[in-house]
């Protein structure tokens, strides 16, 4: 049997905002069925990497392959149709829309065929959203908005789910709940690429991780390896060596 190509394969990626170079030769891989995490400090370039997978900003050099196909130059909306979904930094739910409408927006790439079954699935995962389905999304709490952002991403039945700091601004209990749900999502066969500043929890959950420093990959390894790494422990876990 030939070795399968990785689900996501990023090679030598550069991205810039005008004069600022935000990513420098980033290479990483995500295999099917994994949870892979990317940790890094503020401004390291984590969000830029997730957004550049969606072509915005468009990489200035390097390649992004998804299921073996080079998707580097594709328009943003076309990338969504390939089976990649994102719950982005800041959640970016549509505040003036009802909760259910937000979820329906997530189903855009599938053309509304499986709406009913998929809504039920998301409501099973996040019962809170079901209670609030007719409420304006802007009135949800931070944790509920994060659930909505993840639920919305799931509505496109993605093979690859990109999450940008889902724990940001949430109480520890809510964060734990969300991380537990990420495990459930992975169990249904969805691969997860998780950007986090909450390094401890992210590395515990993930099979593998990468550390991004100043736009470049500094370290990589399994979750346990990185948790044990002195540099990670000092810089991201707050433990003095």
């Amino acid at each position: 049997m030939p070795e399968q190509e990785p689900l996501l394969d990023i090679q030598q990626l550069d991205a810039r905002y005008g004069a600022i170079q935000a990513l420098r030769g980033v290479s990483l891989r995500v295999e099917r069925g994994e949870i892979v995490t990317l940790i890094g400090a503020n401004g390291a370039g984590k969000s830029t990497l997730l957004m550049s997978i969606f072509g915005d900003p468009r990489p200035s050099a390097g390649h992004i392959r998804y299921l073996g196909r080079d998707i580097t130059g594709l328009p943003t909306h076309a990338i969504a149709k390939l089976g990649i979904a994102q719950a982005p930094e800041g959640r970016r739910i549509f505040p003036a829309m009802r909760v259910e409408e937000n979820l329906l927006m997530g189903a855009t790439p599938l053309g509304m065929q499986h709406i009913d079954t998929d809504l039920i699935k998301v409501f099973e995962l996040f019962p809170r959203l079901k209670e609030r389905r007719d409420q304006r999304a802007g009135t949800l709490s931070g944790g509920e908005q994060q659930m909505l952002a993840i639920g919305r991403a799931l509505m496109s039945r993605p093979q690859l789910l990109l999450l940008d700091e889902p724990s940001l601004g949430l109480a520890p209990l809510v964060t734990q709940r969300i991380f537990a749900i990420l495990g459930e999502i992975r169990a249904t066969g969805t691969t997860i690429f998780l950007v986090e500043q909450n390094a401890r929890q992210a590395l515990k959950l993930a099979q593998r991780g990468y550390v991004l420093v100043n736009g470049a990959i500094r370290l990589s390894g399994s979750g346990e390896e990185l948790l044990a790494n002195p540099e990670v422990r000092q810089a991201y876990l707050g433990i003095r060596a």
């Binding site: 969606f54 915005d56 328009p75 943003t76 909306h77 969504a80 149709k81 979904a85 994102q86 982005p88 970016r92 549509f94 505040p95 003036a96 829309m97 409408e101 329906l104 927006m105 997530g106 855009t108 790439p109 509304m112 919305r152 496109s156």
Partner: protein, 305 residues
């Protein structure tokens, strides 16, 4: 002040306001989705007045003698061709400037407006044109001396405008396309990440706005019978005022702003002075901008990311 003058001005104001509301929709939807004022929109409305005259002339010269059919065909043709204008304007004048500073598309919009005005002036001539009065039917209430007069065209204007607005309201509020428009308006980048072709949605909004302006153009031409290449300017600014009054970016606001502007302008004309009605309308705009810059139904501006 007699009751019949008041009632007559209310009827006229409602008619005028419906027209402002229809045109205001184009300003408010385009502003809502790309944050710019499409200054060529009034001229798109002007083009539809010419199309009305041309379509009617062609249909009658082809021997069509059913008036309802001729009107319907004219409405459909004017909407389609005007919508094509709206689509093209976005394509050539605005899309290439997307992502540039705010001033560039504004200048491009004014340029587009001049192109349309001068293009029509060159191809159709500068003089005022007209269509014959096709629907003279009139309802009168009152006696010989004091009466209120409602023409059938006025009734058509109010009915067709309200029906179009209701349809649009349903389209935006209830359909998948409408949801995609709202998503693009609220967060264009996120909408694209969810798989929405936002360029297509922006084109659609220009097409809808132009088609609504075309409905207004056909109705006004049937009502007043005369027009020239310059009508888009004053009517356009009035409709823009209506959009700001109602809260630019808000669809119900455009309709409300149109009706308020039309009614108050007509009442001002009837009770105070006709010569100063434009001054009155723009004073209203200034007052709104000073005391309630977000308009009646608008939300405070949220800086786009």
């Amino acid at each position: 002040m007699d009751w019949h003058i008041l009632a007559q001005q209310l009827v006229n104001g409602l008619t005028l306001g419906s027209i402002y509301g229809l045109i205001a929709i184009g300003y408010t939807m385009v502003y809502g989705i790309i944050g710019m004022i499409n200054f060529a929109h009034g001229d798109v409305y002007m083009v539809s007045a010419y199309l009305t005259a041309i379509c009617l002339a062609v249909l009658f010269s082809c021997g069509i003698d059913s008036l309802p059919f001729a009107l319907l065909a004219t409405l459909v043709a004017a909407m389609l061709i005007t919508a094509a204008y709206g689509w093209t304007i976005e394509r050539i004048a605005y899309r290439p400037l997307r992502g540039s500073n705010r001033l560039a598309p504004l200048i491009s919009a004014i340029g587009m407006s001049l192109v349309l005005q001068n293009g029509v002036q060159l191809s159709q001539g500068a003089r005022t044109q007209g269509v014959p009065s096709l629907i003279p039917a009139t309802l009168r209430f009152g006696d010989e001396e004091t009466f209120v007069q409602i023409t059938l065209v006025q009734v058509m204007i109010v009915v067709v405008s309200l029906a179009s607005m209701a349809l649009l309201h349903w389209l935006i509020g209830r359909t998948t396309l409408g949801r995609q428009c709202r998503a693009t308006q609220q967060d264009r980048r996120m909408a694209a990440i969810l798989g929405i072709d936002t360029d297509r949605i922006i084109s659609t909004v220009f097409v809808i706005g132009a088609a609504m302006a075309a409905i207004a153009g056909v109705l006004v031409t049937l009502n007043y019978g005369s027009f020239d290449f310059y009508i888009g300017f004053v009517t356009g600014i009035k409709a823009f005022t209506a959009a700001v009054l109602g809260g630019i970016g808000s669809l119900p606001g455009a309709m409300l702003g149109g009706l308020i502007l039309g009614l108050s302008e007509a009442l001002f004309s009837g009770m105070v002075n006709t010569d100063y009605k434009d001054v009155f309308a723009f004073s209203l705009l200034v007052l709104v901008l000073i005391f309630r810059p977000t308009g009646l139904l608008g939300k405070p501006e949220v800086e786009k990311v």
